[in-house]
């Protein structure tokens, strides 16, 4: 998957929101790419745009998306329907909104599972197998239950099954483990890693949990106000973050031990998408801001060996 200069606006009653502002992004085969960034910076919108699931107020302002080396038109609903849930599948951020409240878990799983056979009992076996793999107790009984009768983490695992069971080439996982305790989470991360290895699946893994990102991603992209501001291999980004936002983000990770009075935060607030600042989008909060940053916009460019950063310091 390759995304070139993707820009998306949301036309609303109160003005035009510039949600994505020229996103460049590559995911290679069999690679897990982590996507991190401030709440509201456009991560889910980016994910939904690749799925062709943008809300009606979204306007594509420019950019190209290539999937398996051919350009795709995400606005072509007929075409997207063919690859969605087959070649590309997604774990949505809020499970309760994407599960149907009036169908049982069994009905929804059988619908999603795509295996050679259409026989009901074959599909049911497959569904039971998956429920076990993600550690849901009582698989038989779970099939008969409705979404609201499950705990938050169980619903999230149902979403994960629906996305994985279609055997996609590209999996988009938007905060897939937020409702899981750390031991169940470890089990799910391992399952995902194995699937990536076995089936050469590529994964876009969106998460606020930098611990999880450190454990699973091969590469990380950092988004700020609808732009990728840095992109590096996992080791490099944790060891030596380049972009000032990445630095600030990593130093806000709360420590487990030793209680502090106040947790560290990044000063200032996220820019208003109705009215983005001129120059570098981070300049209003950046500790290293120079005159240049206030007037010119830095581009995402290569730095050292295969790292990319959008900042005039480099």
């Amino acid at each position: 998957m390759e995304v070139e200069d993707l820009s998306i606006n949301f036309e609303t009653l109160y003005g035009t929101l510039k949600v994505l502002n020229g996103v460049n992004f590559i995911i290679n085969e069999g690679e897990i790419v982590g996507l991190v960034g401030e709440s509201g910076c456009g991560k889910s919108t980016f994910a939904l745009s690749i799925m062709g699931l943008l809300p009606p107020q979204a306007k594509l302002m420019g950019g190209k998306i290539y999937f398996q080396n051919s350009e795709i038109n995400v606005l072509d609903e007929k075409f997207m329907e063919k690859i969605r849930g087959r070649k590309i599948s997604m774990v949505f951020q809020e499970p309760l909104t994407s599960l149907n409240p009036i169908l049982t878990i069994g009905e929804q799983l059988m619908e999603a599972i795509k295996i050679g056979s259409d026989k009901k009992d074959v599909k049911k076996e497959e569904a039971l197998k998956w429920l076990k793999r993600v550690g849901i107790p009582d698989p038989e009984r779970t099939l008969k239950r409705y979404p609201h009768e499950l705990s938050g983490g169980m619903r999230q695992r149902i979403m994960i099954i629906m996305a994985l069971a279609t055997k996609p080439s590209l999996l988009i996982a938007d905060e897939p483990t937020t409702a899981l305790d750390v031991t169940t989470q470890a089990q799910i991360l391992k399952l995902m890693k194995n699937l990536v290895k076995e089936n050469k699946v590529s994964v876009l893994f969106i998460s606020h949990d930098l611990g999880v990102i450190a454990q699973i991603a091969d590469r990380v992209a950092v988004m700020y106000a609808g732009k990728i501001v840095e992109e590096s291999k996992i080791f490099e980004i944790f060891e030596n973050p380049l972009h000032p936002y990445t630095k600030d983000l990593l130093s806000s990770i709360p420590k487990l031990e030793g209680k502090s009075e106040k947790l560290p935060t990044i000063k200032g607030s996220v820019p208003n998408l109705l009215n983005l600042p001129e120059g570098c989008i981070y300049h209003t909060r950046c500790k290293y801001v120079m005159d240049n940053c206030k007037v010119k916009e830095p581009e995402l460019k290569e730095y050292l060996t295969k790292r990319k950063v959008a900042c005039f310091l480099y």
């Binding site: 550690g135 499950l150 705990s151 937020t178 935060t265």
Partner: protein, 331 residues
């Protein structure tokens, strides 16, 4: 001695289980009975104290929260708020108490009315007690900025926000009445670390200013650690360990707590695959294992664990429900 704000006594919440027959451990075919979502939970929360609740997905944390606030009718047990039993209140008395007890739900999207604008969602609990419209509007404006959003967001509908923005709307709504007790169920799961820090700092400030108390439920141990003076660890509907935050995190005593603390993902890509794993499947809350509920998965289990259920007992600085703590500590 600080006053007890909330006392929970032998609280149980069972749901009817659906469908089918199952085999008991002895191989007898039995009829499905109930889901033991919360199964005999007792604790005290003191004034100016915060409690954290952690535990496996599906162990009953959200059910416990909803039952404490009487959004579910308890199957058994009593709840006291400042020595007043609230499980006995009439619906009118309960309605008057509501503004003092608030909750942030785990799934913010489904708890926010999709047809209301953010400003009305946030204002709603306050307008029940504050009749002056101007005051309400002012307070709404103030609080929306405090949770890191802008006035511009007030005009929007929930679906026009990102997940983390919605979560902050839910938080703003829950604190606008300066309640005495707020139960936060995964309050910051959709927030980046910096925004999360901003919210947690805000909650702590409000505690100092208005004497609010929090019960925080989270899978993120560092969130619970920052927000709580004591932590309760739940397993399959029961509290298995409860103690002071630092001690419990650094020196967990119950075998389940040990595994839980051992599988926290560290933000260091060089340290992978160290994570501890729980062996075996999560048992069904319908068909609870005999003896200690953790015994089928416990690496230390002995014969006694299979037959007799351990109660919470005082061990040094905390309460633990395990027969073999002393033995495990020595080894």
């Amino acid at each position: 001695m600080a006053k007890v704000l909330l006392r929970v006594e032998n609280l149980k919440k069972y749901f009817p289980a659906k469908g089918g027959l199952f085999y008991t451990e002895k191989g007898i075919l039995a009829k499905a009975s109930v889901i033991h979502a919360v199964d005999d939970v007792s604790f005290n929360l003191f004034e100016n104290e915060n409690l954290g609740i952690v535990g496996e997905s599906g162990c009953g944390k959200s059910t416990l929260a909803a039952t404490i606030l009487l959004l579910y009718k308890p199957t058994f047990g009593k709840i006291y708020f400042y020595d007043k039993e609230i499980t006995q209140l009439s619906s009118e008395e309960l309605r008057r108490l509501r503004p003092k007890l608030q909750m942030v739900f785990q799934d913010p999207y489904s708890s926010l009315n999709p047809r209301m604008r953010v400003k009305d969602i946030v204002a709603e609990p306050l307008s029940l007690i504050e009749k002056n419209k101007y005051n309400v509007t002012q307070k709404v404006r103030e609080i929306i900025v405090k949770v890191g959003l802008r006035e511009e967001h007030l005009e929007r509908y929930p679906h026009e926000l990102s997940a983390g923005q919605r979560q902050r709307v839910a938080i703003a709504r829950s604190i606008i009445t300066n309640p005495k007790l707020v139960i936060l169920d995964e309050p910051t799961s959709a927030l980046d670390v910096s925004t999360q820090a901003q919210i947690l700092n805000l909650l702590k400030d409000l505690q100092k200013e208005y004497g609010m108390n929090y019960i925080s439920i989270s899978h993120n141990i560092s969130v619970v650690s920052y927000m709580s003076d004591r932590i309760a660890v739940m397993y399959l509907g029961k509290i298995v360990e409860i103690g002071k935050t630092e001690d419990l995190i650094i020196r967990p005593k119950h075998p389940y707590t040990k595994i839980l603390m051992g599988s926290i993902p560290l933000p260091d890509p060089k340290r992978r695959d160290y994570m501890m794993e729980v062996i075996g499947e999560t048992p069904s809350p319908v068909n609870i294992p005999t003896g200690c509920r953790f015994h089928p998965r416990c690496p230390y289990a002995k014969e006694i664990c299979k037959v007799s259920e351990p109660n919470l007992r005082e061990i040094e600085d905390r309460l633990v429900a395990c027969h073999l703590v002393e033995e495990i500590e020595k080894s």
